[in-house]
């Protein structure tokens, strides 16, 4: 099945620059902000946002990475397929404006897991959510505060974000999954 490119490298960059502006506007500056990227691709996105804000405001924003595997709700029900990775938060999230960063916002279940994980690690002042792609189909009452691009999709389509830090290329692609496997990832 052929894939269609939805965003290229400069589209991704522009979306992130806009999100960075919105974050600063919403939080009235960069004070006490911290980024937490959800593994795997939320982490480089968080690092890019921090870099953009550094050039704009000359402030270093701490960036952490969060592995949510242990907080997922499908560990024992489906015959899971997730390797546990390490969470790495080199700062205290308590009393910070924590901005969770993920690549694709879909059912909301990963975000639910990420919220639980963050709560175990401290007591942030607020938690906000920034995503590169919102593809709809929420199964939980969770919304994003900052969205790079809304892309309406069908369940049998897969949105894949490629980032140069991880995948050697920057792009967002959609492809249709044929036949049997339309189960959400």
């Amino acid at each position: 099945m052929a894939e269609k490119i939805l965003l290229n490298s400069s589209d991704i960059e522009r979306a992130l620059v806009r999100i960075a502006h919105e974050i600063l506007e919403h939080n009235k500056g960069a004070k006490s902000i911290a980024f937490v990227g959800i593994k795997t691709r939320g982490v480089p996105l968080a690092q890019r946002l921090a870099k953009i804000i550094r050039t704009m405001e000359q402030v270093d924003i701490p960036v952490g990475s969060l592995d949510i595997t242990l907080y997922r709700d499908d560990v024992t029900s489906l015959g899971f397929k997730h390797v546990v990775q390490q969470t790495y938060l080199p700062f205290d999230i308590s009393n910070k404006q924590v901005i969770l960063v993920d690549d694709v916002f879909y059912t909301g279940r990963s975000i639910r897991a990420a919220l639980d994980a963050l709560m175990d690690l401290g007591r942030p002042q607020t938690i906000q959510l920034a995503v590169l792609i919102d593809r709809g189909h929420r199964e939980l009452p969770i919304r994003a505060d900052f969205v790079g691009k809304n892309i309406p999709t069908a369940h049998n389509e897969e949105i894949k974000v490629f980032l140069s830090e991880v995948d050697a290329v920057d792009k967002v692609a959609v492809r249709r999954l044929d036949g049997e496997n339309s189960e959400p990832k």
Binding site: V59, L70, T76, K81, V83, V84, Q86, T87, Y88, L121
Partner: protein
């Protein structure tokens, strides 16, 4: 102005690492963990990968995750134990499972209930996983034939202790990194040691060279032939400790099981100390960076001298911490296998 420091995660700076294809966790098929003889090198790597994540959880202020919430894990011990039992129980609790811990000496076993009946009762109580330790070699294998519940062997007789084998290898790997060509010396009562047996299986195809060092009476009869037959060509036997320690990277004395010494395996404990105790003087023959491990409980002053047990090269306490992480990883992996 608030000074905020941005630290890059060490692992992520090498971006290539993350892009490696994920381990094929879907291929993990062990509903039961009985020994390491049926573990592939990939499966062992997977356990270690997950244990790394568990080590991070153990370092948190709130060391509890909800992964196994609503699952019940029974710990059924027919033999005394401190660390293995506490380790499994805490591993289950840190993952959010409920545990029920049964001591055979204070259960219906004293009224004559058989092993299978006791385990069946636990199964009927809707327990999800049973962790069992039993003085008879093979007991968990019999249990598996009669039960649908997942079984983890926490030590059966002189046969196997898979979680200990994994935690020993994990500890060695974290300390030494590349294992190729490294030398591990396991010293003492090989005959009665399930730890040694599981270590031998676990260390195959890691590049480690294992030397079993003991008086002849402590080496099972026909051991060389058995090693040969099983293709365990990474193992050699040596009776002289000073020779065995030559250039060793890992030194692992086993507990002298005093309760088993009535039958004349050694002429005297004093002689055993003279010939086989790991002490500072002997350790000089090992590599300068050599690490000392012990599966516990230690007889200080018998198989290991006090100064060595608490020296900088001793990893005995790290073994205990790593043991919890390894058991968390095993409980996590076993829970993820579909019900039959």
């Amino acid at each position: 102005m608030e000074r905020i420091v941005s630290l890059n995660e060490p692992k992520l700076s090498t971006a290539g690492q993350e892009s490696l294809p994920p381990l094929s966790i879907g291929q993990w098929q062990h509903r039961n963990v009985l020994d390491l003889d049926d573990f592939s090198p990939e499966e062992i790597t997977l356990v270690f990968e997950i244990a790394n994540g568990m080590v991070e959880v153990l370092g948190r202020d709130v060391k509890k995750v909800p992964t196994l919430r609503g699952k019940t894990i029974a710990i059924m011990f027919y033999e005394p134990s401190t660390r293995t039992r506490a380790s499994f129980e805490l591993a289950a609790k840190y993952l959010g499972a409920d545990t029920v811990s049964l001591d055979a000496a204070r259960s219906s076993v004293v009224k004559g209930e058989s092993l299978i009946d006791s385990l069946r009762t636990l199964q009927a109580l809707e327990v999800d996983t049973i962790i069992i330790r039993h003085p008879c070699s093979g007991a968990p294998y019999i249990a598996v034939r009669h039960l649908q519940t997942r079984i983890i062997n926490a030590g059966d007789g002189c046969h196997a202790h898979p979680s200990q084998g994994l935690l020993d290898l994990y500890t060695i790997k974290r300390q030494l990194g590349d294992l190729k060509g490294r030398k591990v010396v396991i010293i003492g009562d090989i005959l009665h040691s399930r730890v040694a047996r599981s270590n031998i299986w676990g260390m195959r195809s890691t590049g480690l060279h294992v030397v079993l060092c003991a008086p002849r009476t402590f080496i099972p009869q026909g051991m060389p032939e058995m090693l040969d037959k099983c293709g365990l060509d990474h193992v050699t036997i040596e009776h002289n400790l000073d020779h065995a320690l030559e250039g060793a990277d890992v030194v692992m004395p086993l507990r002298l099981q005093k309760e088993r010494q009535q039958s004349g395996f050694i002429s005297s404990i004093r002689e055993y100390i003279r010939l086989y105790q790991v002490n500072a003087e002997r350790l000089k023959k090992a590599a300068p960076h050599a690490i000392v491990m012990h599966p516990g409980p230690m007889n200080e002053g018998i198989e290991i001298s006090h100064d060595v047990a608490y020296s900088g090269s001793s990893l005995i306490e790290q073994q205990v911490t790593n043991g919890v992480a390894i058991r968390m990883a095993l409980l996590y992996l076993v829970a993820g296998v579909k019900n039959q």
